[in-house]
Symmetry: C2
Subunit: 335 residues, 2 copies
Amino acid sequence: MAVTIRDVAREARVSVASVSRALNGSPAVTDETRARISRIAQRLRYVPHSAARSLITKRTQTVGALLPDLYGEFFSELIRGIDLAARAHGLHLLVSSSHGDADEAAAALRAMQGRVDGMLILSPHVDAAFLRANLPESIPAVLLNSALESPQFDVLNIDNYGGAHAMTRHLLDAGHASIAFVSGPGDNFDAQQRERGYVDAMATFAPKAAARIVKGDFSEESGYRAGLSLAKGGKPPRAVFAANDMMAVGCLRAFAQSGLRVPHDVALAGFDDIPVAHYITPALTTVRVRIADLGRDALERLATTIEKPGRTCHETQTLGCEVVVRASSGGTQKH
Amino acid sequence: MAVTIRDVAREARVSVASVSRALNGSPAVTDETRARISRIAQRLRYVPHSAARSLITKRTQTVGALLPDLYGEFFSELIRGIDLAARAHGLHLLVSSSHGDADEAAAALRAMQGRVDGMLILSPHVDAAFLRANLPESIPAVLLNSALESPQFDVLNIDNYGGAHAMTRHLLDAGHASIAFVSGPGDNFDAQQRERGYVDAMATFAPKAAARIVKGDFSEESGYRAGLSLAKGGKPPRAVFAANDMMAVGCLRAFAQSGLRVPHDVALAGFDDIPVAHYITPALTTVRVRIADLGRDALERLATTIEKPGRTCHETQTLGCEVVVRASSGGTQKH
DNA sequence: CTGAAAGCGCTTACAG
DNA sequence: CTGAAAGCGCTTACAG
């Protein structure tokens, strides 16, 4: 049915070995033969059977991305960055997401085994024990946004701490003496780091002002509730720094409803720089994370590891963030 | 290195054939044997080599998604829907995007060949000739949002026409007698359909009012320019219907800058219902497209075709849209 | 430079 | 119910 290497060989009156060599660029073939074989392969629309090739080369030319979810701008940007870099390396991309719990993530990891030459893993369920149990040692992997600091793995993180630290400092520098923080889910790595950044910056640059933290869970709704509680409290802070943009959007709604004007009565800042941050009124001051770059860098690292399996030096790398000042913190409205 | 079926067979003191049968649920194996083999396979962490299996079964348990891009909410939602359904069917998902031109798309199609059991194709470069040249007849495929109406393929479209028609009618019903339309790129299938919907609805329900079309290209910037030209024109329309939400956002900016209040002076509507539509002020009236559902339906169709290759009846199906009334058209603000 | 042959790890008629 | 054997479509030492 499908045309195989034998069909090409027969047509070209050579052995299948020669066809293989010619098409794979082996030097042990005359240019003339190669040209003739190539022409015939093209005419026959021969495409090598990837499974057969994988079986013998032990390579699939495919990388897997294990993600907890596919919802929202963060993941689409991440995949975009990965995909772009994968194309550049001639690698296919297998995605697997929607893992509600550790068992599902483990199953997904197992299902990918043998189908990929390496994996990009971003999952809240991943810890050292999970990886030992579910990831064969032999398969190259890069962990994204992981608390894990093991010499066993390559880890690529966003500088949540530095970003939050810088934002807190920026708000203080802008003259907002009291800053409240709306935190993310307690078990979320990003959320923890951002909170630490806020707390430390407060301790360093405003040692007299008390840190004030209201709990949220990254959802707009939780930001709304946090905003209401801050607005109703006896003494609203001069600035509110939400651990992500969606909660900042919720705060904004709460403040508007409570008669607090942003930035006049209270400055507001978020984290992530999702598109909405730019389009709401007032535009949201936030910390920009170059998510596509994260995906690209992760793939580059993985590709390197795949190509040089001998390399044993695994490192943890952190990608910088950038404070973006917009109207919500009273700064100049920048694009 | 990796554990193979032979290792399991040796350990269980049976033939590889029995291991294969036991693990694949063949009835020709005693429950006892199966249990023992399963236990051993598990202990050894045996995972069947997918390439070897594919080579003989001619199945990869993988579907490919060919997309022009991965940028923005539309594609992330689409992939999310596809991924969810794929998981449910036990299928892996290979994504391939970023095809700037027809040649790149063709190369991507070829590269996927042999790696997937079927394809989901969404590409502006795809037409009948392209598919004839690059898609083997034998491989099941579902086209998304394609102008192609061929009995050769399954096609799944969004009801761009119906949605635009309904929105236009809604605006007219709400009392906005003059409606201007900001069009999308001329060569874009969605854009064409939306424009047709607007034009036809105007002709039917407001035969005396002239249709008024300003060119855009789906970008926020083009919407901004269109908005400026409408605001500056001698007589601004009572309502503006942009062919997508991003252009509506641009219009809003232009109107605010020109001193036109929305919805008081001019009503505004978009198409897509991206998240931003909900969060801008005033919230944007728009046409909601259930993109994740589109992805899911497409995968279901593909899975059906893969499972029953005999089915020759290919059909074109259209997914309905829904008018979402928010503050920008003066309607009740609905969530 | 070219070919015959082995072998990658599976599945599945075919015997028994 | 179980096993020996063929074969899926490739690549790559090994000879020549």
